[in-house]
Amino acid sequence: MKLISKKNFISIVCIFFTLITCGKLLAEKIYNFTDKYYTDNIFTILGFSVLITLVLSVHYYLQRFPFLLVFIGQYAATVAIVFLAIWLHGLLSENAPTAYMDMFWSITIPFFGGAIVYYICFFYQIRKANRMLERLN
């Protein structure tokens, strides 16, 4: 089933954007931290939300390929696009000294977190299906 289509693409981007922004604001409140690059970061979150939605929407078309290959490919492509965007941004204005490292973790954590949840759901589904098959037989 195609979960992300042209019709709901924008709404999913908005949901991602809201969730990430709320998380950012909450973290700032908890650690009493003032973001010097507030405007830049808000636009970065928007770009990031579009990218994540794009990656997830492409996943449907790649289901016939081995999962590990798809996961590594999508992760590498996302990192490359984000690093390219940071480099381009660096040409126009000054980047934060930890820009690359910060974005690396911002991609890696959700990617691997998502993959772990996906794996757990996958094996849970199989266990559930095996129980059903036992009952059927």
Binding site: M1, Q63, F67, I126, N130, M132, L133, L136, N137
Partner: protein, 152 residues
């Protein structure tokens, strides 16, 4: 209409026997429900025409535009296309597992996942099939429906 269930040890195959004087509406309704389950399909095996019960089929696959049905000890070439079989018989336990094959859920021993998120299907005749990730949800939905029907 009465239903008498008798357990018999060492029976080769389960069977239903109907005793009637006149076919009434109730009996016809029961037979209608059984019709799909007790349906047979024709095909050829080693140039001989054979008839096999749908419930004996483990899986069906398409190879070079030909459709083959696999039973415990036979591979029968059938005329029906996969899509037609699925449309007509999905309610008796057939589910698609890849672009070119469908499996009889009642003939599955167990499922196992691999690192690439593919589901390996172990059949009761000790054969193994691979379920494509894109057909996973469709398969689980069908399994849920069969399970739901059994618990009703």
């Amino acid at each position: 209409m009465k239903l008498i269930k008798t357990k018999e040890e060492n029976l080769e195959e389960n069977y239903l026997e109907l005793h009637y004087d006149k076919m009434d509406g109730e009996t016809n309704a029961v037979l209608d429900r059984l019709k799909d389950t007790l349906r047979y399909i024709e095909g050829t095996c080693e140039d001989k025409k054979v008839t096999i019960a749908l419930t004996d089929i483990f899986y069906i696959e398409t190879v070079d535009r030909k459709t083959f049905a696999y039973t415990k000890d036979m591979c029968v070439e059938i005329k029906e296309a996969l899509r037609d079989i699925l449309e007509e018989y999905s309610k008796i336990g057939f589910a698609r597992i890849s672009k070119s094959s469908i499996v009889n859920i009642y003939k599955i021993k167990k499922l196992q996942g691999d690192i690439n998120m593919r589901v390996i299907i172990f059949l009761k005749n000790d054969e193994k099939l691979v379920m494509n990730r894109s057909y996973k949800n469709e398969f689980y939905e069908r399994l849920n429906k069969l399970q739901g029907r059994k618990t009703k």
